[in-house]
Amino acid sequence: MKEVWVYAESEGGRLHPVVSELLGEGRRLAERIGGSLGAVLASSHASLAEELALWADRVYVIQDQSPYTDEWQGQALARLIEAYQPGIVLFGGTRRGKSLAPRVAARLRTGLIADCTSLRLDDGGLLLAELPTFGGRLLTTIACPGHRPQMATLAPGAFAPGPKGSGGEIINCPWAAPEVRAVEVVAQEPLPEEDRPLMGAEIVIAGGRGIGSRANFALLEEVASLLGAAVGASRAAVDAGWVEPEGLIGQTGVIVRPRLYIACGISGATQHVVGMQRSEVIVAVNKDPKAPIFDLATYGVVGDCRQFLLELKRHLAPSRPVDEENEGEND
């Protein structure tokens, strides 16, 4: 019961970036309860187990070559949890985590707290999980007092990676993989490799409705590449079709915590704010000096965001003169 477990999601021989956040938070919780940190891996890539052993005290490996399905990994995980009885089990709030963890929790008949952005422990070791509700307008604390393990999915980007451990033990659990598989993966169409993925980006520049047009959004993308920044967006910009849904930041998108976040033409609705408020430095550009985004910005620029982007571009790429009339649209 003294072990905190994290589910080490992997695909194609690579760990999902959220795993380092789970390990960081898992380590913090394990230290608080005077316990150890375990990582569960379902992969035959030996290098992944070794990598995890740098961070976790124990790495439980379900060796299996089959493609991932919720069906079989749900069963395998539930078996492992029943055998070793960790007190806390954490999943990344990725698509996979949010599809797998509910099955495991139902199988074990325990509680599962979704999309947590902060975790604490009370004196009795009860996990107090905080998450934004009502579109980020409230923070709700939920616990699972009477059932074990305590399970939660953690919002990607909301937790900081932690320090390395002292070298963990690798435990192979071949018996954990169930024999019967009803679901088969027939085909896969991988996502195109992203140039600058949002999660983990040092600099993010995001556009909202105030950007005004697809052409202006292209200008933002150009500035982003000059900055080496990832491109994000508010719901309004995604709904307008200027940017793919993968770029959505906020409650229904991704959570980012870059060193620098630049919000262009974004009002600062709470649903957006929950996705970027932990950024180290926030720059807000808005023509309305009363826009709520200025309440949490480190630096506020009042003005037209297209002009702002052109000006920024002029500084970042000084060699090429800017022909203002041909840049984007003014509408």
Partner: protein, 270 residues
Amino acid sequence: MRALRIIVCIKQVPHPDEAKVDPETGLVIRDGVPMVLNPNDYFAIEESLRLKETGGGEGVAMTMGPPAAEAVLREAISLGVDDGVLLCHRSFAGADTLATAYALARGIECLGGYDLVLTGSRSTDGETGQVGPQIAEFLGIPHAAELIRPVEVEGDHLLAWHQTDYGQELLQMPLPALLTVAKGMNEPRLPSLRGKMRAKKQAITVWGPEEIKADPDRIGLAGSPTRMLETTLPARKTRSKMLEGSLAEQVAALLHELADMLPGKAGGRP
């Protein structure tokens, strides 16, 4: 395509844009907020109607909620779903996702056979997206989350394209199965006049815990492992430093402030 018996789980939620939070007390103001069908559930209903149109069969909408939740079942019927089942009893109240999924799974098992269960990808008030996968686990059937293309049924299995973190994936699953339907995967239709008439007259089945042979310890608050402890208002940061002057001056000042964060030349030319 063969005829399927499809169960669509739908939920009544407060209108997402009208539920307000009292900025002083941090309490949710529910008075006078209209109740609507969870927006994501329209996509699940639409996929059930499309399957019925291609292969025949029958669609049943099911919801767990207060007596007023009957309205979402009637709305589903007005769109073309054949029947509605309301799980309604005080002892269902206060359910978290585990107890909700348990009750819905019991209800589905009492319907006398089914081939496919469809749910929305998440609700606007629960917002967990957990209920679908948990129903599947309780029913002992496979599921796929976030269906993005129309389902194909071949004999005793189906083919479903769904969205993953790594791309799109085609799964072959034996029937019965459960699918959560991604927002925007189809264009939900509007109700027909005939549908609306039928919805008004149609009898709705109402079941309590006894009718679905539910274990009283596994429903409602009693069957919910999680407890909400408190709600608070998020802390607001202090007001920012507003830059001054023309836009060009503001940008120059900004670049000066950010000099050590930006790549190479940025800070160079104020």
